[in-house]
């Protein structure tokens, strides 16, 4: 029997030297072939052999994601008993994510919990007595992803999806009334209203996809902002990070009028650091616009590095800057106590408790920077590299994108003036797709809502 092709990370994702991505099913070889640029084509590889090559989004282009090693297993002599290929890549979350995304775009799907093992079992690759334990694995993994979903329940994605589901449901209900109860005297919904609703939904989905935290942090890098009152050494810290003189450093307060953004990688993770003009009230028009830009930077930051001069006592300006930052951003903040190579002044403990982390550094000597780098990597990894988290996040994005496709189809049907049942077809599909994450809406649920909200029945 033909089965669909599945993929998943086989190694714990994160900072290992390599990660292994497994692809199993009838289309495993052809799908990987589409992205693999090596000396040997996948189809020419011998069973149980390996091949080195580049993994590319587009084989006609030179751009690649990573150099990978493929290991090919031909059915039935593989772990799952199906055609199976293992992609060994460098152990970066970014790379793993990109490879998985490409494979999914090639039309194969993400494996469910325990699915490789299940296939192995069903294809007679495992001892029959192991059945119970396979079942337990699935049970446990489902439990784990359930916990994850519940953790998400407090998060914004869940409530965003629930809101999307409600809007889809509302439109579907109106369409179904038109179809199933056209002889009742209930008001029909204007098509332009549905279109408007779907357009807004599309915008909302775009926003969700673009701000998708995982994608943003991993793909675009974690956005750091250096802030604090003027002249505490923010630009020097940035320079120390970059080991180059990029920002203009001077003794005159307020020299850095523009924001400067630099990219750097630490342990394979991408960071973007903005140096800011500092948050001081000023009459200087040039400086005022600098302050405005700083505010924007702080609002957009994923993580804030608040710098003080550890050599001097805290001033009113430090307090004012902090309170301004706290108003602008709810993201995590680290206190960088600069000039740690010099004699340090006492710091108000209340001031310190406003921060999630605290590091003493010296931009001049480089002291404390290792600790700072470690801290940043910890932050990006905090909830990113958990195996299940990666899988679930890819799954969420996948759901969002598929939902978007259905909404697009529905909008096209509306534009082309198709009858309600065609529009309903795609809205229902969108609803079912969102339902994969936050619970299905059955046709009975729709009918229930119709009966409770509308006077139906002759």
């Amino acid at each position: 029997m033909e089965t669909d092709t599945i993929t998943a990370i086989a190694t714990p994702a994160g900072k290992g030297a390599i990660s292994v991505i497994r692809v199993s099913g009838d289309r495993a070889f052809t799908t990987v072939e589409d992205f693999f640029d090596g000396k040997k084509a996948v189809q020419d590889m011998k069973p149980n052999s390996t091949a080195v090559g580049l993994f590319k989004p587009d084989k006609s282009q030179s751009a690649f994601i990573d150099q990978v090693i493929l290991t090919k297993y031909v059915k039935p002599r593989s772990y799952t008993g199906e055609d199976l290929i293992e992609i060994s890549c460098h152990g970066s979350v970014y790379i793993v994510q990109e490879i998985l995304n490409l494979l999914l775009s090639g039309g194969i799907r993400l494996a469910e919990a325990g699915e490789f093992t299940k296939r192995a079992f069903l294809n007679g690759k495992m001892d029959l007595t192991q059945a119970e334990s396979v079942a337990d694995i699935i049970n446990a993994q489902t439990q784990k992803s359930l916990e994850y979903a519940q953790a998400q329940a407090n998060g914004s994605l869940y409530s965003d999806l629930a809101a999307i589901r409600e809007i889809l449901k509302k439109h579907l209900i109106m369409l179904e009334i038109e179809l199933d109860f056209s002889d009742e005297d209930v008001e029909k919904q204007d098509r332009s209203q549905i279109m408007e609703g779907l357009n807004r939904l599309e915008e909302e989905m775009n926003r969700l996809v673009s701000t998708f935290h995982f994608g943003k942090l991993i793909r675009e890098g974690m956005h750091l902002v250096l802030t604090g009152k003027p002249n505490v050494g923010k630009s020097s810290i940035l320079n120390r990070f970059l080991n180059e003189d990029r920002a203009i450093v001077s003794e005159i307060p307020g020299t850095t009028r523009d924001t400067i953004e630099e990219s750097l990688t630490i342990d394979g993770y991408l960071f973007k650091i903005s140096d800011t003009a500092g948050l001081r009230s000023s009459q200087d028009r040039l400086e005022i616009s600098g302050v405005e830009r700083t505010k924007k930077q702080i609002q957009m930051a994923d993580f804030i590095l608040f710098v003080i001069d550890g050599h001097k006592k805290l001033t009113v300006e430090d307090y004012e800057s902090l309170s301004a930052v706290r108003q602008l951003s709810r993201h995590k903040k680290a206190l960088l106590i600069n000039k740690a190579d010099l004699k340090s002044a006492d710091i108000d403990p209340d001031f310190k408790t406003s921060f999630d982390r605290c590091v003493a550094v010296s931009a001049r000597t480089g002291m404390g920077f290792e600790a700072l780098r470690k801290l940043l990597v910890e932050e990006i990894e905090n909830d990113q590299v958990q195996h299940s988290a990666v899988i679930n996040r890819v799954r969420h994005l996948d759901v969002l994108k598929r939902t978007q496709q259905y909404i697009d189809h529905a909008r096209e049907s509306l534009t082309r003036g198709f009858s309600a049942e065609f529009i309903a077809f795609d809205i229902r599909a969108a609803l079912n797709t969102v339902g994969e994450l936050i619970g299905e809406v059955s046709s009975n649920d729709i009918l229930n809502e119709i009966f409770s909200a509308f006077c139906i029945g002759k």
Binding site: M1, F121, L128, A131, D136, D180, G457, K458
Partner: protein
């Protein structure tokens, strides 16, 4: 010596008639038992057949070789295709029928059917041996033996009729209830529930002032239900539309203290899609008027059915409220509206063949399974009989999938879902709605009707020829590429944008505004001509639908394919779910109760999660009962 039959059908309503006819036509010696031979195939409520989604059921049944569509055509007094402003998938035929004629006609057909006997009896109980149904026993202790028994008792099992605070035993107004079988089935361990339904009063047509109402005529060119009929040319009768007023609502409200519904006397659950008028004014108090349709009961009768006015209020309230409606000021009632409570057996106790899980060779069909509607009943009666005969012959059961018929959706819903109220078919219940159209019932289902021996060979050959023509025409349209000079004037004339490079007719037809007849001037083939044979019109219809909505059908078919794997994996009905502790507690409880026959069915049971299904798959694999 007791008389021996192959199949006994208890009850001659819409389910029973289809069951008896299908059984006898498939070669089984059949006995149809009815309490009253004068009331065969009664339309207890609306004098109408079909309607939204129900029209699909009638046409599907007809394509399989059922009777309802033929009789509905023969006795129709008005035909209308509903939803005509929408796409073909939701067009639904509805007919007003002559109630008396319908019953006569069906009785006539049954009386002429070879191998089918009809007997008037009250059934006291079933004969059960070793958990198998082997016959029945009547009120006068006559025994009839059979290899299978189909129970289609409608609302008669322990029926209780309510009018105001008065209630009495009855199966339908003026008819006795059936008491014995329900009690016996309870003793055998069947779960029994209680449902309620209602019907409006009937009026004397001579006392109705139709001039105050809006006339609703039938379609100018009526089309029939049955594939056996090409046209229906009988004279049509109109229906009439009026509305209730605030005064009506006040009068109804004044009687609520004597409403069996609102005083808590009625315990059974009623259908929310078919509420009584008192329910409407209470639940939707802000509505100042409700539509009322006056439907003729037939050409040979004066009676009118007051559609939209089902009620169980006392007689004086019914009369006053009716007379407050424009056009009904002097109306006289011929029959009272009433509510009826009756026993039903939650259909989780049935296999998809409609055979009970508890007692072999016993089948339930129709309203006793918790459905409402003549069409739902008829479809079940037919399917139960077909499966009873097939089982008797030792052949594979006949189960329609959700992707090939509304009948498949109906029965699958019944055996996998918890019933919350009387079940009625809606197009929204069919997830593959775009493919399940009235216009392709024969293409979808007639092959089965033929296999069952219920469709004449000639009719089937006609279908085969048509399918060939459809396929050939589609191929031809891919090859036909008109000259730009020929085609652009046509496109411009119909308000479509002209093309710059040559395109096939197949591609052009995908535009919503383009039709095949638009090209009559360029091509001579019959398919393009506005006036062509009936055969040609049918071919053109399918070709246009197939090409225009191809994208949707492709995606709908992809969805079907995804489910197919699960649908094909069989489960032993005796499989013990309690042992599998990895399955959720709720999942185990539901699986044990519903005992699905395929993983597909299992996956549709509420409370059974996708991971339960994965685990189940593995456990079945362990038992070597299936392999991927």
């Amino acid at each position: 010596m007791a008389e021996q039959y192959d199949i006994i059908v208890i009850g001659a309503g819409h389910a029973g008639c289809e069951a008896a006819l299908a059984s006898a036509r498939m070669g089984a010696q059949t006995l149809l038992i009815t309490m009253n031979i004068f009331n065969i195939a009664q339309m207890s409520c609306n004098p109408a057949i079909g309607g939204l989604a129900k029209g699909h059921l009638v046409k599907e049944l007809d394509a399989l070789g059922g009777q309802m569509g033929i009789v509905a055509d023969d006795t129709g007094i008005q035909f209308r295709v509903l939803n005509k402003s929408k796409g073909r998938a939701v067009w639904s035929l509805r007919s007003q029928n002559d109630r008396i004629e319908y019953s006569h006609r069906m009785r006539n057909i049954i009386e002429q059917q070879p191998r089918l006997d009809i007997r008037q009896h009250h059934v006291k109980g079933l004969l059960i041996e070793n958990d198998r149904a082997v016959g029945i026993v009547t009120e006068v202790d006559t025994q009839f033996l059979a290899r299978a028994v189909i129970l289609t008792a409608g609302t008669f099992l322990d029926g209780l009729i309510h009018v105001g605070l008065v209630h009495f035993s009855g199966g339908r107004a003026g008819e006795m209830a059936s008491i014995g079988p329900s009690r016996q089935l309870k003793e055998l361990g069947f779960h029994v529930g209680r449902l309620k339904t209602g019907t409006p009063p009937r009026l004397d047509g001579r006392t109705i002032d139709f001039s105050q109402m809006e006339e609703q005529p039938g379609d100018p060119e009526p089309v029939p239900f049955s594939h056996h009929h090409e046209t229906c040319d009988q004279e049509q009768m109109p229906c009439y539309l009026t509305r209730t007023s605030e005064q009506t609502h006040d009068l109804l409200r004044s009687g609520l203290d004597r409403s069996p519904l609102y005083t808590g006397i009625i315990q059974g659950i009623g259908p929310r899609y078919c509420p009584s008028i008192e329910d409407k004014i209470v639940r939707f108090a802000d509505k100042t008027g409700h539509q009322i349709f006056l439907e003729p009961e037939g050409k040979s009768s004066n009676e009118y059915y007051v559609n939209g006015f089902a009620t169980s209020l006392p007689e004086d309230v019914q009369i006053k409220a009716i007379r407050s409606i424009p056009g009904l000021e002097r109306a006289k009632l011929t029959r009272l509206g009433y509510a009826i409570e009756y026993d039903f057996f939650p259909p989780s106790q049935l296999f998809p063949t409609l055979e009970t899980k508890r007692i072999q060779n016993l089948y339930f069909a129709g309203q006793i399974n918790g459905t409402s509607g003549y069409e739902e009943a008829a479809a079940q009666g037919f399917m139960a009989a077909v499966n009873a005969v097939l089982k008797m012959r030792g052949e594979n059961p006949f189960i329609l999938s959700r992707s090939e018929a509304y009948i498949g959706v109906l029965i699958d819903d019944l055996v996998t879902k918890e019933l919350e109220e009387p079940y009625r078919m809606f197009t929204s219940r069919a997830e593959h709605r775009l493919l399940l159209r009235q216009d392709n019932c024969d293409i979808r289902l007639m092959k089965y009707g033929r296999q069952l021996g219920l469709i004449p060979e000639e009719m089937y050959q006609d279908l085969i020829r048509r399918q060939q023509a459809i396929a050939e025409t589609k191929e031809m349209l891919k090859r036909l590429k008109p000259n730009l000079d020929d085609v652009n004037p046509i496109l411009m004339k119909i308000g479509a944008s002209p093309i710059e490079s040559s395109e096939s007719i197949d591609r052009l037809l995908k535009r919503p505004e383009v039709q095949l007849t638009d090209f009559a001037g360029i091509y001579e083939q019959e398919i393009f001509q506005p006036h062509c044979s009936r055969f040609g019109i049918k071919v053109r219809e399918q070709v246009e639908i197939d090409i225009k909505y191809e994208g949707f059908f492709v995606r709908q078919n992809e969805q079907i394919l995804k489910m197919k794997q699960l649908e094909e994996m069989k489960i032993d009905p005796d499989f013990n779910y309690q042992e599998i502790t990895a399955i959720s507690t709720e999942g185990r409880e539901k699986l044990q109760r519903f005992r699905p026959l395929t993983l597909g069915q299992a996956s549709r049971i509420m409370g059974v999660t996708p991971s339960d299904i994965s685990i189940l798959m593995i456990m079945l694999g362990r038992d070597k009962r299936l392999r991927l």
